[in-house]
Symmetry: D2
């Protein structure tokens, strides 16, 4: 028998009966902050990965799929985008995408877990790619809930990049109707609120549909869009909310002009990708059309 290879494995357990096993090439960090367990590892297929509470947050290989989807449809829809607010987003990639537009005058990011921000700066510099040092970045380590209540400014775009609102996660209190109201108060007239909004996988669309139903009470236009994010092993959904603009109807020329105005090149998003992610398959449209409970 030849020698065996040594691998450590990161097991993402989606359910007691489903798990994805990733061999680990290197563990940069694994430990507990005040708020959650954090692991920063590297795998052969996905490169570096950030894992919070056993749940993959983003991977080096495909984080642009997620972050370009989260940021650019919303910003493309706006005529002015001087002030942007990010809730969560500790690894800095959402901030990076926002600041790629020179017409963003300031981007405020509020994340509760300063250690995640520090670990990301140290081990995942590709995520922030210098954004933390951009003079337009205002990074606040603190409770987004408290910030929303105390802050008096208004934002052209508010981007919610929080972890899944699981029972005992730090983001759980932020998914409730009160907070949705607080967020809307901070939105400038004509502004867009976009949020990562759980999975759109056929086996688990309910939480997303519930979020959509809740937000439809507050906004004239609420659009679901989603893309498969390989590192999540799932279709990942977002919601774009606005009283002024329907993101599903954005013109291709407008999107391409917006993208052309970004520093650097996109990996995933442009007008054709926009068409893809805002065109929903039948089963999801049916789920979204159902009545049901709200937050």
């Amino acid at each position: 028998m030849p020698k065996t290879e040594y691998w450590q494995w990161y097991v993402e357990q989606f359910a007691p009966t489903e798990a994805h096993h990733h061999a680990i090439e290197e563990t940069y960090y694994a430990g507990r902050t005040e708020f959650q367990h954090v692991a920063v590892i590297r795998t052969p297929v996905f490169g570096k990965m950030l894992v919070l509470d056993g749940d993959t947050q983003s991977s080096q290989a495909d984080e642009r799929i997620y972050h370009e989807s989260l940021v650019h449809p919303a910003l493309a829809a706006l005529d002015r985008r001087d002030e942007v607010l990010i809730l969560g987003g500790g690894e800095g990639a959402t901030l990076r995408e926002v600041l790629r537009r020179p017409d963003v005058a300031r981007c405020t990011m509020v994340d509760i877990d300063g250690q995640v921000v520090d670990l990301s700066k140290r081990f995942l510099p590709e995520w922030g790619d210098g954004a933390f040092e951009d003079p337009r970045a205002r990074v606040i380590i603190g409770d987004a809930l408290a910030f929303l209540r105390e802050d008096r400014e208004s934002y052209a775009a508010i981007i919610s990049d929080l972890t899944e609102p699981l029972e005992d996660s730090p983001s759980n209190p932020l998914f409730c109707e009160d907070v949705f109201v607080d967020i809307k108060r901070r939105l400038a007239p004509g502004g867009v609120y976009v949020l990562q909004a759980s999975t759109a996988g056929f086996h688990n669309m309910r939480l997303h549909a519930k979020m959509a139903r809740t937000l439809r009470r507050h906004y004239r236009f609420v659009r679901s869009f989603f893309t498969h994010v390989p590192a999540f092993d799932n279709d990942w959904a977002f919601l774009a909310c606005s009283d002024a603009v329907d993101l599903a109807g954005l013109e291709a020329a407008r999107i391409d002009a917006y993208v052309a105005g970004l520093r650097g090149e996109n990996y995933f998003y442009d007008a054709e990708t926009h068409r893809r992610i805002f065109s929903l398959p039948l089963y999801l449209r049916r789920e979204l059309a159902k009545d049901g409970d709200v937050f």
Copy 2:
């Protein structure tokens, strides 16, 4: 300590360093045919699954995503669809989708592995849903290669639903330029050849791009389209080839009329879904635009 639960696990090993583990509720069959290893199992999330040589072929929960994508864009593009040919497709779901259109006069299916067909009829009747008993179905157990060379008929649509052309799989000899020529000879004027065409995942687009490059030498229009298939843990790609019609440009009204003419309801596909799956993200368009090797 309380008693532990008993689970058996199906481990799909995508690479030495990546695997998906599914707990098994029931094993209907696990054994070897003349051509390959076959397992028919049931899992809590995906329901029944067909697994060939350790590779998930389809799951009860999401096979319609795959099979509607494989069949309907091609048939929607045609004006006449009386004769259809399926290469592979042993589980019967591709046949089922084709025969949902009453204007299909006959659907010929050629699969090399009669045991897979028999096991599917026995354990996966939801896949065929009666299609094997439809008088319009002509099921031939035999080598698709030999069939293509001996057959003298022509088909409005040829649908290739073969397993991945891995080194030692029975479908490997079918992925080569000679066979592409044989297939085109069987295609009626104005016909469409559609094939499942490997993954479009960011980490593994090369085989798909190589297929696309090869087929572009034979057809005027060669279109990639893809969708995430959760049971495959991957984005799954297809190629639609024709000298007469560009499937990416199909009009919504035409698609919806076609879908309205199907017996029963679709789960996944209609005009909006068509727009989704034929709109490709930037990174895939870039890959497809590259030069490279061909079959």
Copy 3:
């Protein structure tokens, strides 16, 4: 890439953080009886395995290590062994070992789960090896607890081959002081009560020590002995209890004469093996010498 192999896996989860994974060659049965989950599988290294509630009970490859240890030291210690009682032992191997001695006139076996007995006869005939058909075998499907209270006979040896007394297992009520008293009432003068008695692994000796402490209140001689059973991934312990004979002091000549009187050949046990399994390492003797709680 070549085709991957298909394996199903049986995962024995010893703790949330420790598990043994066995690839399965064949699943003969997997289902739930009135009392427990039963799986009968075959693995490349261990051959056929019986698994109750996710816990390996015995394997074809090494069950003789366990069953010879359970039965023969006790029977070797006796001068008369006409009547023997087995509590549990559904797979029939304990019965087989007892009946290999021609001077056993009758062996009564009481197991609560008739389906386990039937499945063992059907799929594990090597375990019973004809013992169920031996006219000296009296097999009673029923509650051992009720049997002990109603029965009026006495037995030279009582052999307890019950599953681990986990919280919700059917054997749990049988591990209590009252039952120990009931068992002693059924024991003939000079008789031996032997029981499988949990693990003696360094990390988990407490349950065994607690059983030993409890039984020392009832018997003059209570001896721990143990052997590694590979299929259990653990050192497995037994207790031999008697008012008449100290099994640790059995003479080699007596043991070898006893073994010579068995039909067929032993795999594991003889006088030298007896010396091995009754000689305990320091750490276990220290644990057994401690005071502590009892049942």
Copy 4:
């Protein structure tokens, strides 16, 4: 759904179809030296573990079982034990056990992998427990093969604590008849050569039996002994070779006097344990009695 726990797993793959999964609490080191892959991790059940080339070498919780077995029977058998030689033994625990006897004047240890020694000093100080700083310790980083050929001293005991001689492991060239001759040349008259000698598990006794057969050509007394080492998931065997003394026949009083002369307390070994580990079960004696190939 509540948050899931994050675990990394160390998978020891014994065969393509058998594996033990240990959750990892901490990874102290994982990387490649000039000779092998080294991992130092901590698990909930076994504490710290040293893993070379994916193969568990020792665990904090049970390394004394292994190291006391390797060292003390041999030293107990000797009348003089002033000079001792260890081949391998990088983690320092064999050295520690040898130096617990005050009458050892010098212990020479030759290990090829200086990085393993350094990592052990840094992360596994419990293994060496100060032995590396003992003035009687002579630690040579180098090839044991070369050392044996160049050295001109003689040793009362030579203790071989090398990794398994797998095809491509650094210890492979040390398991051959030539080296056995070289070793015997370094042994003082009346000396004992003891070696870790592969598994004695029922499913894998062949390598051990082959080693035993080979050494019987060189020594008058060659004794197998073994114990279950839980972290190895296996029965682990040793061979004690001498022209002067049969270790299986060591008197209990001699052993206990020897043990009393050790600094500190044993965990596993004394006269009763000696009786256990040198008493072999039938199946192993049968295997050892067979003819077969030699190195």
